[in-house]
Each structure stands twice: as structure tokens, then as C-alpha cells.
Symmetry: C2
Subunit: 165 residues, 2 copies
């Protein structure tokens, strides 16, 4: 992996929002991801401060809701968190009464995860808060641009997940 | 900001790398950013574990290198970190001997930041490590796609920064 990626381009380092130069850092997409992500996290944390939710809990609950019976391993992989973090999150979701573990009928060694009606109600509320936090940042991207952005990020993530296994 | 953004599209939620459905979460770009970012952070942390660097230290050092005399406030804004975090990072950079604060000649109340020769040497090494971590993820994006991705992320960040002030 010491080979310099063809995807790096001097051109990219020109585009930047502030008055400062990104210098060589502008060639690293990780930096751009991080600073947008930092900001969105902060907005989300501010919006949900009253609930004091652990990072990753909302995403995990949303994935469980969309995939009834999902396993902890699958959840961990899809959300992009360490398995140990996912276990802690699922413990917390059970404690709050928002999700439950059940023995898988096909494989008794694994747990199947399900959202509860209380979890559904909280998820609705959280989606409303996340939507407000994101809209403040995203309102200027067109649907076509959003689509491109999502596709590129998903391809990057698919590459991460493959590299991991 | 309660208005639903026109950028949200049902279409987007279809694109996803795993076998699981993202459900409504697929409409939130923050989730996509976060999971790629989690992965890149983990790769970078693994690559730099021997150095035990605080998150944001590398980016901050790179911005100081590209902008000799930058202020702490400008640095904080460009990297997207809280001012208090930036102060801690600059303290650490000074302790390591990688950067130094000097009184601004034009405004004695503010500090101007400069990288040291030792800092330059470490920065070179860190850029090599980050490049390897990113290449594993990005090698499949074309230069044109990287350019689009960077531009969209920078526009999002510019919107964050504006919303902040």
C-alpha cells in the first residue's frame, strides 16, 4: 500500500472554504470528511444533549429498525463501529427499553435484534432532530449532488469493509 | 431550520454497500460520513499508534506548516475543532518541539504559530502514514471523482462555518 494513489491530485488542494491554505492536507479526503463530521456531530450532540445519547446509538437503533432480526456482527459492520462498542450500545438500548435481543431461531448462538414500540417512538423524535442538524449544513446541495456524494461515500465504505475482512 | 431539505431524496437510501438496508438512515449523509470517517480514523490510529498522537494534532500541524503565522482562532476554524481543543493541541505541539507560538508583530494580544524543523520532519513521516491509510480506501475512486467529492465536502464545510458565526 506504499504506492501513491492515482486519486491524489494537486488540483484538489486548491478548493477550500476559508482564507487559509490546506497545503498538502488538501490532498487527503480524510481531513475533509473529519471536519464536516466534527461539525455535524457537534450539531447533533447539541440537539440531543437533553437525552445524553452515546455516539453511534442513534445509527444503531435506526439500522435495527430497518432490519428486524439483524445480528450484532452485522450491525457492527454496517454502522462501522468496533464489535465491543456495538455490544455496549445494544446493552444500553435494552436498558432504555428501545430494543431487545432474542435468540435466533435458526442459530441459537447468535442474537437477533428488534426495535420495541418505545424505540420506534424515540427514533422518530431523533430523526427529526438529526434532520434539523443536517439541513443547516446541507440545504445548499442539490438532490443530484447529494446523490453523487452518497454514492461516492458508500463506495469508499464498501472498500473499507472489504479491506477489513 | 425545521423545513425539510430539498436535498433529501428517497432514491439515496437505495445505495448501500452491505446486505442490510439503511432504511431512513440512508437519507442522512452524516451517517455515511461518520462510518467512512470512523474507518479512516481507526486506520490512521493504527498506523500512528507508536506515536500516540491526539486526534486533530496531525491536521493542526499540517495547517500551521501551510500557513506560517496563523492564529489559534484561524487554526481552530480551519480544522473544525473547538478552540479549547486547539489550545491543548498547540500546547502539545510546543511540548514536542514541533511548533512554536510567537507574539504577533501586528497584534500583541494574539499568537502567531510556526512549525519548527523538527515539526517538518515529523509531518513528512505522518503524511506518509496517512497516505497509506487513505490509499487502502480510496484507490478505487478516479481523480475526477475525488475532485467532486472534495468539492462537495468543502461546500458543506463552508456552510457549517457560516452557520457557526
Amino acid at each position: 500500500m506504499a504506492v501513491k494513489s492515482a486519486a491524489r491530485s494537486k488540483e484538489i488542494s486548491q478548493a477550500q472554504p476559508g482564507r487559509l491554505s490546506l497545503g498538502r492536507l488538501g490532498d487527503f479526503v480524510g481531513f475533509r470528511l473529519r471536519r464536516v463530521q466534527n461539525q455535524l456531530s457537534r450539531d447533533f450532540a447539541a440537539a440531543t444533549a437533553a437525552q445524553g445519547l452515546r455516539s453511534g446509538l442513534f445509527s444503531s437503533l435506526a439500522i435495527i429498525a430497518a432490519n428486524p432480526g439483524v445480528s450484532q456482527n452485522e450491525l457492527s459492520r454496517e454502522v462501522g463501529l468496533d464489535k465491543s462498542v456495538t455490544v455496549t450500545i445494544v446493552d444500553e438500548l435494552e436498558k432504555f427499553g428501545w430494543a431487545k435481543r432474542e435468540r435466533s431461531p435458526t442459530d441459537r448462538r447468535r442474537h437477533a435484534l428488534f426495535i420495541t414500540p418505545e424505540g420506534e417512538a424515540h427514533l422518530d423524535e431523533l430523526f427529526g432532530l438529526v434532520g434539523q442538524a443536517e439541513d443547516a449544513v446541507l440545504h445548499q446541495l442539490s438532490p443530484a449532488e447529494m446523490h453523487v456524494l452518497s454514492e461516492l461515500l458508500d463506495r469508499m465504505y464498501a472498500a473499507c469493509v472489504r479491506d477489513d475482512s
